[in-house]
Symmetry: D2
Subunit: 351 residues, 4 copies
Amino acid sequence: MPSPRRVSIGIAGLGRIGQRHARTLLAIPQANLVAAFTPAPHELVWARENLEPLGVTVYDDYDKMLEQEGLECVFVATVTAVHAEQVLKGIAKGKHVFTEKPISTKEDVSQSVVDAAAKKPELKVMCGFMRRFDSSYAELKAKLDDGLIGKPVVYYGQTGDKRDPSGFFVQYAQFSGGIFVDCTIHDIDLALWYLGENNVVKSISAVGTCAIEPALAEHNDVDNAVGIVEFYSGQMASFYVTRMMAAGQEDQTWLVGTEGKMSVNLEPRINHLKIHDKYGVRSLEPQTFFDRFAASFATEFAAYLDTIINDTPVPIPFKGAVHAVKIACALQEAVNTGVKILYDENEVRTN
Amino acid sequence: MPSPRRVSIGIAGLGRIGQRHARTLLAIPQANLVAAFTPAPHELVWARENLEPLGVTVYDDYDKMLEQEGLECVFVATVTAVHAEQVLKGIAKGKHVFTEKPISTKEDVSQSVVDAAAKKPELKVMCGFMRRFDSSYAELKAKLDDGLIGKPVVYYGQTGDKRDPSGFFVQYAQFSGGIFVDCTIHDIDLALWYLGENNVVKSISAVGTCAIEPALAEHNDVDNAVGIVEFYSGQMASFYVTRMMAAGQEDQTWLVGTEGKMSVNLEPRINHLKIHDKYGVRSLEPQTFFDRFAASFATEFAAYLDTIINDTPVPIPFKGAVHAVKIACALQEAVNTGVKILYDENEVRTN
Amino acid sequence: MPSPRRVSIGIAGLGRIGQRHARTLLAIPQANLVAAFTPAPHELVWARENLEPLGVTVYDDYDKMLEQEGLECVFVATVTAVHAEQVLKGIAKGKHVFTEKPISTKEDVSQSVVDAAAKKPELKVMCGFMRRFDSSYAELKAKLDDGLIGKPVVYYGQTGDKRDPSGFFVQYAQFSGGIFVDCTIHDIDLALWYLGENNVVKSISAVGTCAIEPALAEHNDVDNAVGIVEFYSGQMASFYVTRMMAAGQEDQTWLVGTEGKMSVNLEPRINHLKIHDKYGVRSLEPQTFFDRFAASFATEFAAYLDTIINDTPVPIPFKGAVHAVKIACALQEAVNTGVKILYDENEVRTN
Amino acid sequence: MPSPRRVSIGIAGLGRIGQRHARTLLAIPQANLVAAFTPAPHELVWARENLEPLGVTVYDDYDKMLEQEGLECVFVATVTAVHAEQVLKGIAKGKHVFTEKPISTKEDVSQSVVDAAAKKPELKVMCGFMRRFDSSYAELKAKLDDGLIGKPVVYYGQTGDKRDPSGFFVQYAQFSGGIFVDCTIHDIDLALWYLGENNVVKSISAVGTCAIEPALAEHNDVDNAVGIVEFYSGQMASFYVTRMMAAGQEDQTWLVGTEGKMSVNLEPRINHLKIHDKYGVRSLEPQTFFDRFAASFATEFAAYLDTIINDTPVPIPFKGAVHAVKIACALQEAVNTGVKILYDENEVRTN
């Protein structure tokens, strides 16, 4: 049923994803968007035109936004490099904080943010992994928990971005932490969710290549990579990540259990339309992750805000976000060094 | 971008669909739900519990709701038998009116409502055919207009309700106007939209049967029927309607043109999940029309309210709703009499 | 297991389908192709080059082929106009006869052939409806007989030929009996097989148009048509037939029963390959009925020849082929006259 | 067109696959099955009942079969452990030899067989990888060669056997060489075919587990494994292999290129039937590799025998089979040791 009240929110960051998040927040009943911050002049122009008329106060200083009277919650949607700092500041000011993934591209920095949040258990702090709120992934989880496919054994996760001929992602690569940290982190989060969040990693291997953008090599990055994570439980996860998809955004997952298999999006399509013409029988794909996950973001934000309204636990435990970053960083390192990374049974690295 | 203002709305009818519509209106930025009417005591209870706390005034008298200060618009979601009267009253009071389909189960009554609306062109009056706002049907229309499949020739439309073992639809049949008027009207609206809204009907044939509910015969209704509508343009439409689907709601459409074909939902599924187990490889279907079209209702309401806010034409011309009712009634009659119904080139009946 | 012996066969007709059938017969263990007849000079050239070296005697006179020493069986694959005469001659000479569908484009002629066969029960005479031997249609039948979907109520059958820009089918139309007799007869056969072979027709309606080939009208034919057959059992069949498919051969069927639905080929594709490129995610379709049904012909021939080898009943009762012709002719007439055709409970026509 | 002559063939091995191969050979026009060998008493019984009546001489001594007058060709379908010896003997006797994969579970033994064949270039010697003759995999290759998806970069191959509750595969594991050698070898062959047969391996990593059959560990085997092969070209292949599929045989492949992607069998189904019932909308899967590939075996045998008849090169160069064995053995070793295996640019192992 309808929400009993709206949470007063300030959003930090009004780039591609920030503007999307602002629009989403304006359209869900649990949210009252009252403030927005961005350091970027052209984004400020956009905010003054589009947000101010709706009663949103616009800031070019994050600290000032935090001072706004009545502000309860911050949504951090800035570049990854400043996530950690902004989350810490929000916590320090006693705000609930939702942050885009990843907390940081470094495991230790991520851990320090989680530690800070742990000291203020009254605050709802969550790192956004919107796939968990997508109806397909969520139904997979529900059916898995019902025992439909027995014990899960092998996870496969693929994040496939449509090729962006502008080369935007090359410049982005210097800050992103690499393709595994930037993209596969969603698959890692799902793998942990499905295989068991307390799983201990035994080994990590990965290889990658620059098939379309040699310039990525300068940032120790690649445009196609595959990796394997082995757990002490005997379970395993296999990942593929690429920036080279031709038809659209192709994020695919399957999970094989002892009694069955479930898959998500092995037949990609944006809607129920099929075209039968000289090219064959064809579906069109979503072109961006937002085409694919717009509804998931809204569901995620509503679920998160409900925890503030009702003072219930956040749906994604915050500490898990550190584990995902740790694994992503190790996959990236494995690509760059060619070394298979090993861990002991406490998941302490041994090589 | 976000809506510049919210339209003050009263909803009439709080049954199954009315409650859904109320929730949808509470969650879209263009709407300000300020009033609700229902004559049913248990629905009043629901409204007092769920809507009043959110600032919605609850009425057991439709006329009184129309008097509410500041009310701009009425959403009619009552039983079909009172649609026409309530729409007329709303128009008389100078309100914008959105009505659930059909306007009436009679062609002449429907026409009188359209005539009344035509006299107040400043009011936005629309009959809801939410499928036009579904992303799949809408994309089919856009690609058709782009010429992707040449000239459209044959339309197929199927409305397949999941079998409801409660037999609810048997009692409902005495008011519904029959299965073609109740269900196929959506397919008729799509057929006219795709084949051309000015198409003139040449003949109508149909047959039907009571395969699971013999009691429907008492209300001159059936639970399965097929029909053909032939147009003077040489185009044709084929319909199948059933209340006997086992897997879920299965609404399917295809359109064959001189250069290609497009289809919607020939592979029904509620999301991107597939289960691979002892039953095979399977998708789950939406269980109700609401599972399938929840997002379309929201899109439709937003598009309709935007026309009030911006004073632009409604997206579905109101007079078309009469044509759909006329065709639906003739299909129903053709089932009941066994006669093929014929029309002259002005669509005046000749037998 | 392998066949214990090979049946000596003569084939009549070496056109498009006849050559295919000859190749199929050369490749199945039950067949020994010993003779071939065609009246067409260029087909005789083909036969002398391709069949004679393999020990097949080639004839330009059907009667002479029938005299060949040791000949046991004739496969009639000539033009429809001579099917009946050649089957009758084969029966008169005591040969087993397999004939391509339809026996004739006329119901009475078809009946006379069935009557002649009935007088020689020791001969295996069968009209080919290869779809019954396709693994998908056959499995549908098996599961239907197992009760998987309860009592069958509504059949939908579509034969969609890929558009042939050569216009071959226009000339062909003068002999074919019309699109329902030429193409839909397969769907009619399936409808009777699934709904019950003893079903009595109550009414037949149909409409059609010449969307791409106006010249068809000269032969009382159309290139797109839809029709409905109503049975006294309360069951019904809906047909769509077209020569205008853009992507390939698209023969689709579904059957709705009281407890479920089964469909065949709603997602057409020639194999398991999918292409993900700028056109979307796409499958390719079979381009001709032979691409779709090559394996079914081989299965059909083997099953038919096994009945000769083992002296068992033919898998498709011969008299049923007359019923299919009767219904097909009535659908064609309904298109041409615009009249709904009615029958009494003995399936005697009443209008 | 029909084959101009039949090759006289002896088959070695009449187990599960051998009996299938015998039947296939009896049904293709290029083959004349004249001899069969098996050392197993119950298989001899089967052969005397089923093959002898058709003119096939049955042997319990392989060497004696090789002496049969007029024998031109041997099909080796025995257990893997004797493949190499029987192929060598066939070559020594001047017979054309088709052998089931793998030549051997050891790279050096495989190489010795290839070397022996190389000395008799007049003999057609081929190792069977029937997937290359499957219409889907073959069309992928044709479209790849046409440049449809640009340069291939990443291959994914999965062999998923349906879970066999009899545990047959546990006993089989002591001879099979392990799951990568037994099953993944088909995927390795495809990967080399698609990515380039002269590709040089840079590294191999793999992990595996015994999820359903702990007893496999005794034979250094697993029932689920994933592996990565990295090539010096920058290309890579990712494999998944399992004996735990619930729905059926699920062999899936995709290939991502710089301009597009192609996939095979991501939507598994045995035919075109769909069932819509209380379990959802579902397809049934092939239950065994033979259900999936029966037609491919026939196509493969015909293509191979054509090379004998026409003295043309065999379609799969024999030496490639050694490379596939080498990679399969390394994947298996990587699972067992946990070590990432490295190669220099001549593909000589460096660790």
